[in-house]
Subunit: 338 residues, 2 copies
């Protein structure tokens, strides 16, 4: 049995879509139990309304919500009765809870995880790791994509170790091809941060380091994991997302301006639907925060039920594969070897 | 009359496509003259072959070529007879030459420009500024996209001033909306570099600073110029390019797997062609290097004739609009105001 805590009041479509996602996850995973963090008075009646089995849930009453506009650090300190603060406190205190899923404020989730839950011993900085689809039908992870905007080479080395352990244990990638995001593929290309990191990664026997990667090759299928500081990783993730959205928008507008294209588009419905499905990065769960004492999944603010269901299943998968333990071992081993 | 120097031996398709591009540019611009840098023995016969008017060109004999695999600094020092070294030396010495176009090694072009041509007085760091198409049919500039991978806030302020002057003078954008690339739109979001830069840009009366921009909104049409360090800018540019290419590849493969989509695609030829044309960032010239004593245009290594023609015309436009002078004034004024 796996127990997952869910922030019912995080995200644009909370609480409805979050609760619907919980129902989907419970229906699909018979050994799953959920702890729903949020206002009991609101959640209570909805449990019955959505047909959620009350024997498989627990409500963690939390009346406050942290919004995107608040300073994360202040909000975590001040809003003691918020879903995020109470959620992380329960996560730290209770051994039976495997992880936490939230579509709430990214800053608050990260700050909450750092301050209330705590890092895995030995990890210098936890990091966010989203997965993207590649043109060859596989996936590629980006670590870090925004948890750390000012980093040192040692941090990037830990990102690589954690991402590597995650790809191996959860996705069964035997020998993940780990690349370093840079401005060119040549060994000498990069800024001060990546140049030092390059040499550190090159010397690590634990990592199948394949060298520098240019941003344009992210989705090529040639890499399993891309290591970068959180600022560059955020730019990489969001510009990839944005370019795809912009392209679709341009295509839609262009189609409407040509009669022949309008006809063509009708025949291409299947392709458009499948592409949209493949490239909707936020539909299949969230970014996993690696390097905290338990698994935290940050879903996109716009997440709907299906995405929340996937986020919950990400915690289940990570728990089943003992990701936290494997990461702790990998980092400890590397730290000892230094 | 405008005189432009062209590196005939830079790029994957040199010298043929470069010379064809020169011919296109000469045909389209009656008051243009070109100086062709490269091996005279090779260029000479081709001039006649391609029907280039020998009265409107001059050959700058240079027997060596700097490749992408060489260390730029070493190559610039060692290869005295290369198109890039000889080209930049001529550019510095001769008042009659307006600018330089090359599709050769980016590192060598930048190093050559810094060491042989020199910066505009007052400019802390020259910066590369490519233009991308937006979904609203306009353009957006990125400054810097790779000339400076380790920067200080003062450098980013100069990038903003130079890009602003460029957008105004060459593209006639009256009051360019200048944004700072960051990990969120909120004022407090960013890393140490962007947080300091944010406050500096906010206080500049010369700049219509509209705040932070997230990478996903690059092509939205809401911004005219995006300011960033060269590492992040390079990631922004290349991941946007890469995502569009990956999307097109995925679409092509998906179309081939459905009969109805194959039929639909035939009707959509016009749309595909127009989109490809709009989104081929490298087809319409190159990235302009702002902040050197003369205009330098770095075309993509894969440039064909049309792109070279556009690159030459970028120099012509910049010269006609006195970009170098306007940049020098803008930077001097801002430096004085400090």
């Amino acid at each position: 049995m796996v127990k997952v805590l869910v922030d019912v009041f995080g995200g644009d479509h909370s609480p409805e879509e979050i609760l619907k996602g919980c129902k989907l996850a419970l229906d699909a995973n018979s050994d799953l139990c959920l702890i729903l963090a949020g206002d009991e008075d609101v959640i209570g009646p909805k449990i019955t309304e959505y047909g959620i089995d009350s024997n498989r849930i627990e409500i963690l009453d939390a009346k406050e919500v942290i919004s995107n506009d608040e300073s994360p650090t202040e909000a975590i300190r001040r809003k003691k009765d918020s879903t995020i603060v109470k959620g992380f406190e329960a996560l730290r205190q209770r051994e039976d809870i495997a992880g936490f899923v939230s579509a709430g404020s990214t800053g608050a989730v990260l700050t909450g995880a750092f301050l209330k839950l705590g890092r895995t011993p030995g990890v210098s900085r936890p990091a966010l790791c989203p997965m993207l689809p590649t043109v060859t039908g596989g996936i590629v992870g980006i670590v870090d994509c925004g948890a750390n905007v000012d980093t040192k080479p040692e941090n990037l080395v830990h990102f690589a170790l954690m991402g590597n352990a995650y790809m191996k244990s959860v996705f069964g990638v035997e020998n993940p091809r780990v690349a370093l995001l840079s401005v060119g593929v040549e060994d000498h290309k990069g800024n001060e941060l990546t140049k030092t990191t390059f040499h550190m990664l090159k010397d690590m026997p634990q990592i199948n380091f394949v060298g520098n990667m240019e941003a344009r090759d992210l989705l090529s299928g040639e890499y399993d994991l891309v290591v970068c500081d959180g600022f560059a990783g955020n730019v990489l993730l969001k510009s990839t997302e944005g370019a795809v959205m912009s392209f679709m928008k341009m295509m839609k507008e262009n189609i409407m301006s040509h009669t022949s294209s309008k006809i063509g588009a009708m025949f291409m419905k299947k392709t458009f639907k499948e592409l949209k499905n493949t490239l909707d990065f936020n539909k299949k769960g969230g970014s996993v925060l690696l390097g905290c004492k338990k698994i935290v999944v940050k879903c996109h603010g716009a997440s709907k039920a299906f995405s929340i269901k996937c986020g919950i299943e990400q915690v289940v998968e990570a728990e089943r594969n003992n990701v936290c333990g494997i990461i702790a071992d990998a980092v400890a081993e590397a730290n000892d070897a230094e």
